[in-house]
């Protein structure tokens, strides 16, 4: 249906001129910054050049901290350790091997590879199914402490507490090192900037906002976090390489926990999640510190600490937030962001093997300690069926949904999707089997726009570009229909957090439908919706199952709604399957009337 596609695309194409301009912005800014920094040593005195060289290396580290913490939500104190490992790898290579071009290249390689490998190990340790954000922070805290102690215990090899000094370094003057670190900073910032504005950059924010939703879109948030940790450990190691060369001294403090906390402080003051904020914040604070701490050593630290506390409490967005508020108050600051167009894509052919059940549950039982929540559940669902799961509060409906969509949930019995057992499978792998899950409380990415939420829903099929933005998002017709019926197709640029409750529910449904699942699990999709919104969602579900042959399992309290759309109703009561039949059978059943009048027990 090409007409539909172009009609939907209208809102996006109206803004066509802007994106190209704003896409060039990072490169223009980077080129200007590079030129200015190239010329800077000509006008600055030697002290300033020296200090700023160090500040810019630190700012490169701040970029990595910002990517991890500001964008992805991983509060890390560990970047200092990777920096230290890079610096020590360089210093040790140069001390014991020499500084010939070949050994220099080896030192550079070591300085990147060693921290990246360590980062991989740390990432693997920190991020696993059901790991918490706090645990990753704990590990990032332990890491610099361990690295520092290893340096202390390295004896002659690492110079122990006095560090390594006097090794040969790159044959550059003061200005040369200034320009080298400026180049590294500009390159790292530019790369980070391009990345966070790309489609793949949306995934970082998505992981921060809602990593459960990521997993239930078939993405692997843990793998992304591990990859990011390893890659940014490599970048931190590179900064360590430049630092070791520029200062020709490395000390245990460079890898320490305290330095790790300083990096976080600089990023917080500059403004987490803004890249330029942390860069400018780090350079400014480190430069000021070098100038002021000589005269007012303790007062400076006191001031910095007090400002930090105040910023965290009162201005979580840091100084960049002030700048942004000023900027958005100016007419020039109010440009609309880039928004891709939606296009229809041909759906996958309807489910095959109509005979075999798509979902099979055999003897499922679940208990929390001594409390049995589900017992002896047997159920089969075939393609094209819409099975409603009803029952009073505490009957175990949501628990059953959880067991179906997460194979790592401890339960007895067997669940298989299309003949494949889900035992031990994490949610993203179950999604790969063709399962889509809609949560009870609308689970979308609050900080992302409607378009970006849909983009991520397609990511497991279509991939995400790490450098650019896709012009179009190809969605199956069913997802487009949901968007059009709810008017969301005209709100693509709207951040999801500004949507109404009903719109969020519809957006989540569209995201799940965009996965093109064979089986869709819906937990109270109409809770808190208006009558009109319910009708819309009901129509969308009927079309999905009736026309496309998708199987659906629906938990629902609104029995009018259930009666209207179901092909089968399953009644769950006190953890057991009380009744399984057609709408007529269940509605007319005396058992259901007793359950709902509250008289049934035991």
């Amino acid at each position: 249906m090409p007409e539909d596609a172009s009609a939907i695309g209208l809102s996006g194409s109206a803004e066509r001129g802007r994106p190209r301009l704003s896409r060039a912005a990072p490169f223009v800014v980077a080129a200007l910054a590079a030129a200015a920094l190239w010329a800077a040593p000509l006008v600055l005195d030697a002290f300033a050049v020296n200090v700023l060289t160090r500040s810019m290396i630190y700012a490169t580290l701040a970029v990595t901290v910002d990517l991890l913490w500001g964008f992805t939500g991983i509060l890390t104190f560990g970047q200092a350790a990777f920096f230290g490992v890079g610096a020590y790898a360089t210093a040790m290579a140069l001390s014991y091997l020499g500084a010939t071009p070949e050994w220099m290249a080896v030192a550079l390689a070591l300085a990147v590879v060693a921290p990246a490998a360590l980062g991989l190990a740390v990432g693997w340790l920190s991020f696993y199914h059901r790991s918490t954000a706090l645990y990753a922070s704990v590990i990032s805290l332990v890491l610099p402490i361990v690295v520092t102690q290893l340096i202390y215990s390295g004896g002659e090899w690492t110079g122990s507490s006095s560090g390594l000094v006097g090794f040969e370094v790159l044959p550059l003057e003061l200005e040369g090192f200034f320009r080298l670190s400026a180049f590294a900073l500009v390159a790292a910032t530019l790369a980070a900037w391009v990345f966070v504005r790309s489609d793949a950059g949306r995934a970082l924010v998505a992981v921060r906002d809602n990593d459960a939703r990521c997993a239930y879109l078939g993405l692997s948030p843990k793998r992304l976090q591990i990859a990011l940790t390893a890659a940014l450990a490599g970048v931190a190691g590179l900064a360590g390489f430049i630092f070791a060369n520029a200062s020709s001294v490395v000390a245990p403090e460079n890898a320490g926990f305290l330095f790790g906390t300083e990096l976080v402080i600089w990023v917080a003051l500059g403004g987490r999640g803004t890249l330029l904020g942390p860069v400018l914040g780090t350079v400014a604070i480190d430069y000021l510190a070098a100038n002021l701490s000589g005269d007012l050593p303790f007062l400076w630290q006191l001031l910095l600490g007090a400002t930090f506390v105040a910023v965290i409490i009162l201005l979580p967005g840091g100084l960049a937030e002030i700048a942004r508020r000023v900027w958005s108050a100016l007419p020039i600051g109010r440009s609309a962001g880039f928004t891709p167009r939606l296009v229809a894509r041909s759906s996958r052919p309807a489910a095959d093997g109509a005979g075999a059940p798509l979902l099979t549950i055999e003897g499922l039982a679940k208990s929390y300690g001594s409390l049995t929540v589900l017992e002896n559940i047997d159920l089969e669902v075939r393609a094209g069926e819409l099975v409603s799961l009803v029952g009073p509060n505490g009957a175990g409906k949501t628990t059953l949904m959880r067991c179906l969509s997460d194979g790592t949930e401890p339960f007895k019995g067997a669940v298989s999707i299309g003949g494949v057992s889900t035992a031990g499978l994490t949610p993203n792998r179950i999604v790969a089997l063709g399962v889509g899950r809609k949560f009870q409380v609308a689970s979308v990415f609050e900080s992302l726009t409607v378009a970006d939420c849909l983009l991520l829903a397609r990511a497991s099929h279509d991939g995400l570009s790490p450098i650019g933005r896709a012009e179009t998002i190809g969605l199956p017709q069913a997802a487009l229909n949901v968007l059009r019926m709810t008017g969301l197709d005209r709100m693509l640029a709207e951040p999801a957090r500004l949507l109404s409750h009903g719109q969020k529910q519809a957006l989540e449904l569209a995201m799940v439908v965009a996965l093109e699942p064979r089986l869709i699990l819906l937990d109270e999709p109409t809770a808190g919706l208006t009558k009109a919104e319910r009708t819309t969602i009901g129509a969308a579900l009927k079309a999905l199952t009736g026309e496309l042959g998708v199987a659906a399992v629906l938990v629902e309290h609104d029995l009018d709604f259930v009666r209207e759309i179901s092909s089968r109703i399953v009644v769950l009561h006190q953890g057991r399957l009380a009744l399984d039949g057609t709408v007529e059978e269940v509605v007319g059943s005396e058992l259901v009337r007793t359950i709902y009048s509250g008289a049934a027990h035991g």
Binding site: L75, L125, Y128, R130, S131, T132, A133, L134, Y135, S137, V138, I139, L141, V142, I145, V146, Q149, Y152, S153, F257, L258, T261, V264, I265, A268, F298, L299, Q301, L302, L304, G305, A306, F308, V309, I312, I313, P316
Partner: protein, 277 residues
Amino acid sequence: MLLILDVLTTAAILFVTSIGLLAIFGVLKIINFAHGAWITIGAYCAVVAAKLGLNPWAAAPLAFVVGAALGGLAELFIIRPLYRRPLDAILATWGLGIVIGQLITLGFGRDVQFTPNLLPGAVQLLGVDYSAYRLVALGAALVIGAAFAFTIEGTRLGLSARAVIMNEALARGLGIDTARVRFVTFMIGAGLASLAGVLLTPLASVDPNMGVGWLIGAFMLVMVSNASFLALAAACLVFGAAQVLISAFVSPIFGSIAIAVLAAVTLRISPKGFSRA
């Protein structure tokens, strides 16, 4: 024999320095990264007490009161706005720790301070000479642990605190003033940290940054204890033993990171740590 005494006294010291952090984490679900600063405050209370010519032991109640009072202020102005942002609370309390460290530096200078030993000398115990004070520290840990257990198990405040830990929404619904419970708990936790600072003075050098090292160990121990006070005692014994044994038989440097590494591994294997047992 010496090793057993070392293990017991090390565990005791770890327990004393962690219990305040545990109390706050349990009830407020907030990690007080200014815990180290409160330990430092306590140690400087001992310095001040010595300068005023007070009995060295008088520093203990003094530190508890000063720490608790300052803790109350911190809870009101820094912790309270951050209840819904626990990771930010870590950062803000860390910043607060920096501020306190610098204020102490401004007031007392950055040099190491000397305090009179609370109990000098050694005693003969089962055939070995052992530092009398380390045995006192062991006793102090038992007293503090018992007092803490009594507060938790035997008083209304303790009952309210346990209710807040178990189910804060229900506690609110029954009319318990949860804000007050948090406030008082933070004061007690801060007070206990300062008390620990006094008890540390004979064992560690007193300087404005002395608390940081203790903070990390306490933090890791509290993480594996998951807000359970008995689990903390168990964790202190096990990890304290590991620290002493690794220091004695492998290397003191590995001993110094034993707690952090073992705690991280424990949490990876069992996210609830010692509280499961």
